[in-house]
């Protein structure tokens, strides 16, 4: 490995390196610095304790603070720094004083201090030594404050024992002007117990694990530091970020592990994570063995039992396996949790389930136990899993992500126009637009534009009507270019252009107008949000996340529904789901007819498995706002997701009927209708429906249609034709890096009778095998569990479905991780027993649990109550509006 950064001893690194590689803890470092500054300049003395497991970055932070203080002349003058690095081997209170004095002597090199220390060491009486060392320290400090940086305070306090701790505290209270910055892997009783010496003495800050984007930033900076700009760019790419995400799942947010992985992110190894990963685990084994060696024999045995059991386990089971009493296991588990080795995975009844905190530790130890192949396969699976972008893109609940957020404002402005005929034409077209009659609205607008082509608001509404009619992007661009000519300083127009190009998959072209909008207002949160969505589509994931973070930071507190929606969507992308849910709720309470907000909310809920809830909301909404066809579509999708195909079909046909009346093309409803017909076994009608879907500009969309066509042919038994079509499609999919069509691929494998399915599965295995993408097939299999685990799919069907897959793919090594997940999910589906999930190791459980549990939940949850409250508000608001209208 390259020695680019001294991974295990940042205390030896230069300030420049430390600053450059410092990510995510900037606010914490600033807070600590302020506390130290106040301690230096006043009688207030701050004591800070950083808690976190080994490798989490505590020493990095301490080293950084050390350099920052040294660098600050004012602080440097008032403070005297003693940095007690890791393992100073302090055995007593006198040792501690001696260690501090020696550090000071080394740091400040006064010739007299070393000599004074030597004199004290000549004293025979231990009590005299302590008193003399205290005096020496106080005299040396004079009016200055001592800054002590202590690593492993937990070990130090344990070594000092209670008497030593009390001496230290008494010295601090009586004489010593000191501010401390300490680190520890866990809270020892001396600090956390109310009856102990240092209870409440420190301000305690946990050092949190890195989030995935922070890990990516760290690795990018490491590459930049090594002047490997190509690698820095590669990490920012979709594939690089996917790799970081896969590592993230295994490393549990431990920066030390990311840095170790640095070499494997080089371009040469970018396509194959598993092999270098195995090599790394070989190299990491001594590290984990070292950690194991710090434990008592029983603690080591507990770790080993949990490793062997793989999933989470109870005190009872661990005590059975270790042949020890539950009391001693329970006590040791408490200690191992404090030390950061174990975490609680869940609780069933009165029993708690525990597991190893870092998946990598278990995998590392597994490799030594000859289970390396399964580790390798799982890593491969993760790589594929995270390389696959959102699967629901093509035909999910997605709607335009780039909002024409300024439209409403423009519409309101337009109302104050002077020309009465223009006003009347505009009002008429606006009313039609609001009613969803986009074609009619457009006709009226054309008259208005012919009368006066220089009224911006007419063009804006025209653009919105084209959107409603799913018109071509060129048509929109022509309209928007006209507006840009009239008012090039209006950033909302450039944002609309981005939207038009974005919707037709012309992401790179969209960068031009995006830049224009950013030039006009680089700090506009909405524009930044749009830029984030665009970057995401361009697979510049890390930049996207940073842009979203900046957008959220700059976003003023929303005051209207669109503001809340913007905020909510960005929060979804930042994976701040609860806040996102609240933001959507706020948006809809203010404006119940804001369809984009419903769309986004449904997407958010569906991703988390709340299909039943989405369905309940959609049913009610169709009742409350019957004139909006799109709501029927959402209802249809929710029914489809729940496996209720007859009802889904009726909903999609309603959408298409309403669309026809309004002169609108409802592409997504058409596609879903085809899928639903196929699932119902009405394959000829399904093929006809696919063929009737109109071509669009999106290559992803086209690919999706072809995949669905192939799946219908398979269903019909035309295996040869379908296989050949599938070969072409998959090749194109693989070589051209298309990202859409996820739902279509997923839908390939979820239906058909067991007998037919066997044949179909063989076709898939061969087709994906030929292009060496069986990992992708595994990932699709896991994704399709969302359908097969629905309550509407009978337990027997779900089990049969799994068994057919298992029988067909059992001998295919690459499918093993997916089959294992499928087995657990189906078992949970059938038995509703959380143990089925707890038996999985956490990195595998994390792929199922977030949505599966919600999907099968029978008792109403907090989110159900929240959504019920939302519905009540929406009902009230709509009724109020009706009443206002009537009066």
């Amino acid at each position: 490995m390259k020695a680019c950064h001294l991974t295990f001893s940042p205390s030896e690194s230069s300030q420049e390196t430390l600053e450059q590689l410092f990510v995510a803890r900037g606010d914490l470092a600033d807070g600590i610095m302020k506390g130290i500054a106040e301690s230096a300049k006043s009688g207030n003395k701050h004591q800070r304790l950083l808690i976190g497991p080994r490798g989490i970055g505590k020493t990095h932070l301490v080293a950084l603070i050390y350099h920052r203080v040294r660098d600050n002349p004012e602080l440097g003058e008032r403070l005297r720094i003693a940095w007690l690095r890791e393992d100073p081997y302090v055995a007593s209170y006198a040792d501690l004083l001696l260690e501090i004095l020696r550090k000071l002597a080394r740091e400040y090199a006064p010739s007299s201090l070393e000599a004074e220390i030597e004199k004290v060491l000549d004293l025979a009486d231990a009590g005299q030594k302590e008193a003399a060392l205290e005096r020496l320290l106080v005299d040396f400090l004079g009016d200055n404050t001592l800054l002590v940086l202590i690593e492993n305070l937990d070990d130090l306090l344990t070594d000092l024992k209670e008497h030593g701790q009390q001496k230290l505290r008494a010295f601090i209270q009586n004489q010593l002007p000191v501010t401390m910055l300490a680190t520890a892997t866990s809270l020892v009783d001396a600090v956390s117990e109310r009856s102990k010496t240092f209870y409440g003495f420190f301000r305690i800050n946990p050092v949190e694990p890195l989030r995935v984007e922070e890990a990516a930033t760290l690795l990018t900076r490491l590459a930049e530091r090594n002047q490997d700009h190509d690698l820095a760019a590669a990490i920012q790419s979709q594939m690089g970020f996917a790799r970081v995400r896969a590592i993230h799942y295994l490393a549990g947010g431990n920066p030390r592990i990311y840095v170790l992985f640095y070499d494997f992110l080089s371009r040469e190894s970018l396509d194959d994570l598993a092999k270098p990963f195995m090599k790394l685990m070989d190299e990491l084994t001594p590290y984990y063995q070292g950690r194991m060696s710090r434990l008592s024999p029983l603690q080591r045995r507990i770790i080993d039992v949990l490793r062997q059991l793989r999933g989470a386990s109870t005190v009872t089971e661990i005590s059975r396996q270790t042949m020890s009493s539950p009391q001693s296991i329970s006590s040791q588990i408490g200690k191992l949790r404090e030390l950061g080795y174990l975490s609680q995975a869940g609780a069933l009844g009165r029993e708690n389930y525990y597991e190893l905190r870092e998946p990598l530790m278990r995998l590392c130890l597994d490799v030594k136990e000859q289970q390396g192949r399964s580790v390798e396969l799982f890593v491969q699976f993760l790589r594929v899993w995270y390389s696959q972008p959102e699967l629901d893109e093509m035909v999910g609940f997605s709607s335009p992500e780039v909002e024409n957020e300024h439209l409403h404002e423009a519409l309101q402005r337009a109302r104050s126009e002077q020309d009465p005929l223009q006003s009347s034409l505009w009002s008429e077209s606006h009313e039609k637009y609001k009613a969803g009659e986009y074609g009619a609205a457009l006709e009226t607008l054309e008259i208005a534009i012919a009368r006066n082509p220089d009224i911006k608001e007419n063009w804006l509404l025209k653009d919105q009507c084209i959107v409603g009619l799913a018109g071509a992007s060129e048509e929109r661009m022509a309209c928007l270019s006209r507006i840009a000519e009239m008012d090039p300083s209006d950033s909302s127009v450039w944002n609309r252009m981005v939207h038009a190009l974005y919707e037709s998959g012309r992401y790179t072209e969209a960068l031009g107008p995006m830049q224009k909008a950013l030039d006009i207002d680089p700090d506009d949160a909405t524009t930044l949000g749009n830029y984030g969505f665009l970057l995401k589509r361009l697979s510049r994931d890390l930049e996207a996340i940073r842009t979203f973070e900046k957008a959220i930071e700059l976003m003023p507190p929303p005051t209207d529904a669109l503001g809340w929606l913007d905020c909510g969507r960005i929060l979804v992308r930042l994976d701040r789901q609860d806040e996102a849910l609240s933001a959507h709720r706020n948006a809809l309470e203010l404006e119940p007819r804001l369809i984009q907000a419903w769309s986004s909310l449904f997407g958010l809920l569906s991703e988390r498995g709340w299909y039943g809830l989405v369905n309940r909301l959609a049913i009610r909404l169709v009742d409350l706002i019957p004139d909006r066809a799109i709501l029927h579509q959402y209802l249809g999708v929710s029914l489809y997701n729940m496996g209720q195909c007859e009802e889904a079909l009726a909903a999609f046909e309603s959408v298409l009927r309403l669309g026809q009346q309004a002169g609108r093309k409802d592409q997504i409803a058409s596609v879903y209708r085809a899928l639903t017909l196929r699932n119902l076994g009405r394959t000829s009608e399904a093929l006809e429906a696919v063929d009737h879907c109109l071509p669009t500009e999106s290559r992803n969309f086209q690919l999706g249609l072809r995949l669905i066509r192939a799946s219908i042919q398979l269903y019909q038994g035309n295996l040869r034709t379908a296989e050949s079509e599938l070969d072409d499609l998959l090749e194109e999919y693989r070589t051209q890096g298309l990202t859409g069509g996820g739902r279509a691929i997923e839908s390939l494998i979820i239906v058909s009778s067991p007998t037919a399915r066997r044949g179909i599965i063989s076709v898939y295995l061969s087709a994906f095998g030929r292009i060496d993408c069986l990992g992708v097939l595994g990932q699709i299999l896991v994704r399709s569990l969302r359908y097969m685990c629905q309550p509407a799919v009978s337990s027997q069907s779900a089990r049969e479905w799994y068994e057919v897959w298992r029988d067909a793919a059992d001998s295919v090594e690459e499918m093993a991780p997916a089959l294992k997940l499928a087995e657990a999910a189906i078992q949970y589906r059938v038995e509703r027993n959380p143990r089925a999930l707890l038996r999985l190791p956490q990195e595998e459980r994390g792929l199922l649990e977030p949505w599966l549990v919600n999907m099968l939940r029978e008792e109403p949850s907090d989110i159900d109550h929240e959504m019920d409250a939302l519905l009540r508000t929406v009902e009230r608001r709509l009724a109020d509006k009706e009443q206002q209208k009537a009066s």
Binding site: G31, E38, L123, H163, A170, T179, E193, R194, R203
Partner: protein, 397 residues
Amino acid sequence: MKANPGGKVAPDEVMGRDGFIERLWSRLDRLGIVLVAERRMGKTSVINKMKSEPQRDWAVFLSDVEAVSHPIEFVERLIQDIEKHLSAKAKAVDWLKRLREAVGGLEVAGVFKLPQASAAHWKTHLERALGDLAQNQRSRVLLIWDELPWMLQKIARKEGQSTIIDLLDVLRSQRQKHDNLRMLYTGSIGLHHIVSELHEEGYASSPVNDMLTVELPPLDHVDAAELAKALLRGEQLQAEPLDECAETIARLVDGVPFYVHHVVAALADRGKSVRPETATDAVAQLLTDPQDPWNMVHYRSRLPQYYGERAQAVRWLLGRLAETSPLGLADLHAELKVGLVPENAACRAIVEGDPERLRLILSNLQRDHYVRRDSKGAFAFRFELIRRWWLLDSGLS
């Protein structure tokens, strides 16, 4: 001022304690004081402020004695403190020199030490040191010993309980002998536990009954809100509206300065913007945090140590008072008879015996800062924060 939970607060920045300190000085006019309070209430800040800003005609000697484990070390510490205090005052040196000679002390590497051989004579040395100090100070002398109970516990463990009786008796006799000598004892654990243990061991001595016990209360609501406001400003948090945020924090933590610092620190760790609701959330999170950063569980887990077999009854009482309060002694006793199935003889005696046993328990609970009595004599939780935690922790909320 920045939030500084647990850290040392500069005496001139201690907020809201001026009135209390004023009252302490006024009481010290006549008597010594045992200053008691729940841990982290701010005792150390108060005594530091008294030392730093003494009233006229008072010489204040303050020492944290938790590390002391033998009476001779206590004498040594006393003489060191006197030296430190008088070092600038040349006139005093003569008597001090004589004292040092009389007790046989040496200066080792600049520090006054007593030889081990003098350990047996600690009583004489202590009397001499206190006597000389009182006689040679024109002003009145206040000796403040912080963490005295911890010191007594250590001495008792090492030397036996009779030694601490002797020590407390010497201190008492010197207080009575010298009119200008006052003492203030304080510490993290209540002195009454030490004294109770002595009584249980059969010692009849009442070594502090000439002293006034004063409890340090939380800050007044106004002062606590001012402190919260100062900290919110010091942390440069955007608190909107500032007054309401500060008052919310003060109210939720019962005006305990340590918790005020904690809550503002937690808010500062979360971000820049604070609303009254975010303050409420922060307190709720701190109370329900599985890591229990305030170690609230201590209020439950220390009961067996403090109350032995009676702990079951105490838990029941606290649970009842957490749900409904205030309740009078008779009501509590009546409910206890119906609600508690005693696990042992001690609890059975409380349930079935006369209310006196219950009254004694409630009296101890008052001294341990769990409960308070209102003007009608009824009992309720002393701190709303602890009551809230008790409810949450017991699943009663």
